[in-house]
């Protein structure tokens, strides 16, 4: 046994030594190993909702007409410019010339029309089909000009086109994009070892500026311990989002790493079934808000890294207003409110989807609710069940969930959404917002919408999921924030 171990160690030393003796090149590296928490089921962002798809292919492999910049601003993508008609209903895009897909297919207005029509077609399986719902018609004016007519003015339309689900795909290759993605981006798929890694290499005929990297390997290491060890060992150069907040202090203490705690759009809330007694009573919902100690949850569930939110809106987005003070933690007040509403011995089920933030928050929140006399039974479920029971079936009392779609105030205006909010005033408010294009007016309306949601205490708004980026200190150009769940590596480079 001991001899066996000695031998194993010896073998190890030999291997390590041979690796260490590899010639050290003076030039900066041009490859990048990126750690991923989850493996994408496939690589077609127009056919799957998994964030991991966008995190690999967006901007790197596929491009859209517009694109999202690191600060959340909308920049030209494959459309180099556009004009909007005064009524806000007609968008005319001027497309870039000389763009080809990885297989050589030229990109032009006909391709763009195909991509948009495919996404909004009746048999479309686009996960964000709603983005394209406002489109009335798509017309090819000439190969470099595309005209999109909307059913009504839609303020967020350019923003919608920047989503991963709105990337441009070619008619010949669209069907096979799941396994053989063909895009217009600076990188193309080299190899996908299922279960372990996805490799992208530079596309030589890219239309735009040549990226600094030649090769990007996305390594799927979701286990926190393994991820930690992989970073420490240098097997992985960057984790755009590190899987465990617990290890962040150790990375921060280590000079070899850059740690950036940025923002995502992940608004974590305790969703309340507003239609179910006693949650149809605003006092009960407010009691919940008062009864939950946001700070303790953030400390316990995100190791203090999450940013508190007071409404369904991320602090970095335009029009944000800080409402975190509206329902301070006050168990006595919460109890009083419950008493006022005539609620006693409340027993509820708190449904928890799989991510750590939900499971951990749930444990803390249940303990807190107990103090205000609310018995919360924790019901952990898998995504499949969460989607069918909670989201589709609306069969729940409370659940904890992060809404990652950016600026998604619209969900509260939807009929038949799982919150069962159904508030006519809010619907009117949102309709006005949707039809408004003027940025200042939009900001005011957004602010109003946030206040409305908080006043009604529709859900208990908890915190923004942190984007715990950890990467090699010699790397630059990685996104600190995540306005969309994507990783744009076109500007990433190694410093000497």
């Amino acid at each position: 046994m001991i001899r066996l171990l000695t031998k194993a160690c010896l073998a190890l030393v030999l291997v390590t030594a041979s690796v260490a003796m590899a010639p050290l090149s003076a030039a900066p590296r041009t490859d990048l190993n990126v750690g991923m928490r989850l493996e994408p089921p496939h690589l077609d962002p127009t056919a799957g909702a998994a964030a991991a798809i966008g995190e690999i292919v967006y901007a790197n492999l596929f491009e859209g007409l517009t694109r999202m910049a690191a600060d959340g601003a909308i920049k030209p993508g494959l459309a180099e410019s556009w004009t909007v008609s005064p009524d806000g209903k007609v968008y005319t895009f001027t497309l870039r010339k000389g763009v080809t897909f990885h297989d050589g297919t030229p990109f032009d207005a006909a391709v763009a029309k195909f991509a948009l029509d495919r996404a909004r077609a009746s048999d479309s399986v686009n996960p964000q089909k709603g983005l394209f719902e406002p489109i009335e018609a798509v017309e090819v004016i000439d190969p470099a000009t595309l005209k999109v007519t909307l059913k009504r003015p839609t303020g967020a339309f350019l923003f919608n086109l920047a989503w991963p689900a709105a990337v441009m795909v070619a008619p010949q290759s669209a069907a096979d994009n799941k396994t053989k993605p063909i895009g217009t981006g600076p990188f193309k798929l080299d190899r996908w070892a299922k279960g372990s890694q996805v490799d992208l290499v530079r596309h030589p005929n890219y239309w735009g500026a040549k990226p600094a990297l030649n090769k990007i390997s996305f390594k799927i290491i979701g286990d926190p311990t393994a991820a930690y060890a992989a970073m420490m060992a240098g097997d992985v150069d960057a984790y755009p989002i590190f899987p465990a907040n617990e290890n962040i202090p150790q990375f921060q203490a280590d000079k070899r790493f850059t740690v950036k705690i940025g923002n995502t759009e992940g608004k974590t809330i305790v969703a309340i079934n507003n239609a179910r007694t006693p949650f149809d009573d605003i006092r009960v919902r407010r009691a919940l808000a008062h009864g939950i100690d946001r700070k303790a949850v953030i400390d316990g569930a995100t190791m203090g890294l999450g940013k508190p939110i007071g409404s369904h809106y991320a602090p970095q987005d335009a029009g944000y207003v800080d409402l975190t003070g509206q329902y301070p933690y006050d168990p006595e007040k919460a109890k009083a409110l419950l008493k006022e509403a005539g609620v006693s011995n409340l027993k509820v089920k708190l449904i928890l989807p799989p991510p750590d933030y939900a499971r951990r928050s749930g444990e803390i929140i249940a303990a807190q609710l107990k103090k205000i006399g609310v018995e919360a039974e924790l019901v952990p479920v898998e995504w499949a069940q969460w989607l069918s029971d909670v989201f589709r079936g609306k069969n729940y009392d409370l659940t904890i969930i992060s809404h990652v779609e950016p600026m998604d105030l619209d969900i509260y205006a939807r009929d038949d959404y799982y919150f069962n909010y159904a508030n006519a005033d809010y619907k009117a408010l949102y309709a006005e917002l949707a039809a408004t294009s003027d940025p200042e007016k939009r900001k005011a309306l957004i602010e109003k919408a946030q206040r409305k949601l908080t006043d009604d205490s529709v859900n208990v708004f908890m915190f923004l999921l942190p984007k715990t980026g950890v990467w090699n200190a010699k790397l630059e150009g990685l996104w600190e924030n995540a306005p969309l769940p994507v990783n744009d590596f076109t500007a990433v480079r190694w410093r000497d």
Partner: protein, 315 residues
């Protein structure tokens, strides 16, 4: 081997396989949750969902889907993964490239440790060495393999940074691929080895007490010769039984261990596929695992017959 005996065993094997496939299919069909929903997420619209369901063939009656699946299995067609959109056979092949070497390493390690150690302990019965081996194996049996895996990671990967703590670079990466499997294989093998060592020891001790070993000694064989020529092979029979059982534990073990070490193996594939409701993958892979357990047990039975002439029947 008498043909009747073989026929009975094969009939039993087929029955078990058919029953297992039916159970697997029914269980899978009972699982709540809709794979189409998982793929399309929260913003999907009902018409989009219906379109995807039709595309995946989920709208057909259960019996037809079972028949399709079972017949497909017979033809070697495992179906097409709902999420990965590739043939399951391809996925399985990729994953087996990790799980199979891992299982082989674990079994080899188990045997290399257990057989000599058990024989050694038996030959030094009641000595200090024997007691020490017994105590260590007693401890080995009591250690949960996933916890052992965590401890290995803590020591070898985190503290000493000698071995990777997880992930798999792929076989193209050469030696580092083997390094990545060392800790998982040890974590899988040691608890099993502890059990097998004990079985080997007690089986050998029991055999050493048999009359024919005394006969061999009376014939003039030394203790060691009697052990080697007469006791060892007889002692292997119970070891074989346990080894067959351990295979099934090994399968379950790989699911846990592959998760601990983030290895892209079959176990992790099942775990992920269940969560993503990739029913085609789950039921085919589960069926594959169960079939392999059933077949291995069948082979163990055949191996008995090879080792033990009494089971071959009169020729």
């Amino acid at each position: 081997m008498s043909p009747l005996w073989l026929l009975r065993r094969i009939a039993g094997l087929l029955f078990a396989l058919v029953a297992a496939s039916a159970i697997v299919f029914v269980l899978m069909d009972l699982l709540p949750g809709d794979p189409a929903e998982i793929m399309l997420g929260t913003n999907a619209r009902p018409d989009t969902l219906a379109a995807l369901r039709a595309e995946m063939g989920l709208d057909r009656p259960a019996l037809i889907r079972y028949a399709d699946w079972a017949l497909g299995l017979l033809r070697g067609d495992f179906g097409r993964s709902l999420t990965y959109s590739v043939p399951v056979a391809e996925l399985v092949q990729e994953r087996l490239a990790v799980t199979l070497p891992l299982a082989m390493m674990a079994i080899a390690l188990t045997l290399f440790i257990a057989l000599p150690l058990g024989a050694f302990a038996a030959s030094r019965r009641k000595s200090l060495t024997d007691s020490t081996i017994i105590a260590v194996t007693q401890l080995g049996v009591a250690i949960p393999n996933f916890w052992f895996a965590m401890m290995l990671v803590l020591v070898f990967a985190i503290s000493w940074r000698l071995l990777p703590s997880g992930g798999f670079p792929g076989w193209s990466a050469g030696p580092s691929a083997i390094l990545a499997l060392i800790l998982p294989a040890i974590a899988l093998a040691l608890p099993q080895a502890a059990i097998l060592t004990r079985v080997m020891r007690s089986s050998l001790l029991e055999t050493l007490g048999e009359d024919y070993v005394r006969t061999a000694r009376a014939k003039g064989l030394t203790r060691a010769e009697a052990l080697r020529r007469h006791a060892f092979r007889n002692a292997l029979i119970p070891v074989l039984t346990i080894l067959g059982l351990q295979f099934s534990f090994l399968i379950a073990g790989t699911v846990v261990i592959e998760n601990v070490f983030s290895l892209p193996g079959l176990g992790r594939l099942i775990f992920q596929a269940i969560n993503q409701r990739d029913l085609v993958v789950v039921r085919s892979v589960v069926m594959l695992l169960i079939a392999s357990i059933i077949v291995i047990n069948f082979c163990v039975d055949l191996a008995y017959a090879l080792v033990d002439p009494r089971l071959r029947g009169r020729s």
